[in-house]
Symmetry: C2
Subunit: 256 residues, 2 copies
């Protein structure tokens, strides 16, 4: 096991670059921060390039680390450089980014979540986690949706990226392909003239589109859907947080 | 209108103290940051003590400010001192904290959300916003639940504190009083031996308890409820974000 003691070490600098989307794209890897996420990667055969841990974390998890993956001992200063947290746990893994794009033409079943222009990494991560919990097959990140492999998004995701398909895609293309394959595509709108979500029968094969936090779904996309839905609000709040709305809609639409 | 130009000004220092719970308790006021929240306070007759705004914000909103409330012109440095944001909008209001406690004995109707040990201010704010959107009567902050008047909680709340009752309370006392008054009190558990949320008929008068992000509900409280519910998870995620779970449960339980 190699011991790293300087934040100037070239490996440390390379890992730090994974904090930006540009850096992740260049190396085709991303960084997991904290034992819970590293453990999910190990359990679900995530492709690990390296594990980095402080002596305390190594002592605690040594027996659980997979064979054949290079392990680096780091110190607290390096841990702080790799983390966006004030007090990081001190264990990290570098893992392969999954294949970023899939062809919707060949998808004929499952429940899918399409994200159109979602801006907040916490919302993105929470929606992936909820899609996993609700038994969805995958999440498609459309144009204008922020990268799901930032530390903040991954923290909210809680390892769900290892449980379902994540892909980027042109949502107009995905919507067209799904409807062509006979799958319903439901948009969501903050508009009581859309169909009441709770009147739609639960089903197994469809896509649900959630739109941007402030602007909602793109108009051209809303015009392509099978139907657009709204969640009936009976109080005085004008809208719901998008991750909460997604949770309500995902559970309401999918067969249990 | 008084112009303030120094961050050392005693008024500025007094407003800064409202960033802590201790400071808010001492003055019995809290701070709203940004026009959307200030506007909600004005529209819903929040008790305003002062409005503080930069020249740009004053020019934009002068005609919408209520008569009889002292307005202070501030500069960008002061705005940054009052805000936890990197680039604050530049308009704030100091408003009265609502009456903090109510007696559950006299409550005989409405849907209520009880929060047991919720730690994240964003989750708290989001749950209040969702309770408002779903037409709930109020939210009770139990022991161990963080203060809902921090900047982060208020940002997630989006002004919903002006639309429904918020109160602190001993949840054991509230649960006992509700059940005595004939209202169902539903706990939530991450335990498939509890009742499936989606089998419970929608109703108008009840309380729903959401528990701590990591630990769930207190055991003693869970033993006092009418029934404990779980949300059936069909994927591999072990749990849902608490604000998402609360949203799903609030909409599922309440009559529309």
């Amino acid at each position: 096991m190699e011991k790293l003691s300087s934040v100037q070490n070239s490996r440390v600098k390379a890992w730090q670059k994974l904090q930006s989307k540009k850096g992740r794209q260049a190396s085709q890897t991303y960084l997991l921060d904290g034992w819970h996420l590293v453990e999910e990667a190990i359990k679900h055969d995530g492709k690990l390039h390296a594990i980095m841990a402080t002596p305390e974390q190594l002592a605690q998890h040594q027996d659980e680390l997979p064979l054949g993956v290079p392990v680096f001992e780091i110190n607290d200063d390096i841990a702080k450089k790799l983390s966006d947290l004030v007090t990081p746990q001190g264990i990290f893994a570098e893992v392969t980014l999954p294949v970023a794009s899939r062809s919707p033409q060949f998808i004929h079943d499952g429940a899918w979540l399409f994200l159109d222009g979602i801006q907040d990494p916490g919302n993105i991560g929470t929606m992936v986690r909820t899609a996993d919990a609700a038994g969805y097959s995958g999440v498609v990140f459309g144009q204008g949706t922020v990268d799901p492999y930032s530390a903040k998004a991954l923290r909210a995701m809680q390892g769900s990226q290892f449980h379902l398909t994540l892909t980027v895609g042109d949502l107009a293309e995905w919507t067209a392909a799904f409807t062509q394959n006979g799958l319903n595509v439901y948009g969501t709108k903050l508009d009581p003239s859309a169909a009441d979500l709770f009147t739609i029968p639960a089903q197994s094969q469809f896509a649900l589109i959630m739109g941007n936090e402030g602007q909602g779904m793109r108009t051209d996309l809303a015009e392509m859907t099978t139907q657009n839905l709204y969640i009936p609000l009976t109080g005085q709040a004008e809208s719901l947080n998008v991750a909460v709305a997604a949770g309500i809609a995902m559970f309401a639409l999918k067969n249990r």
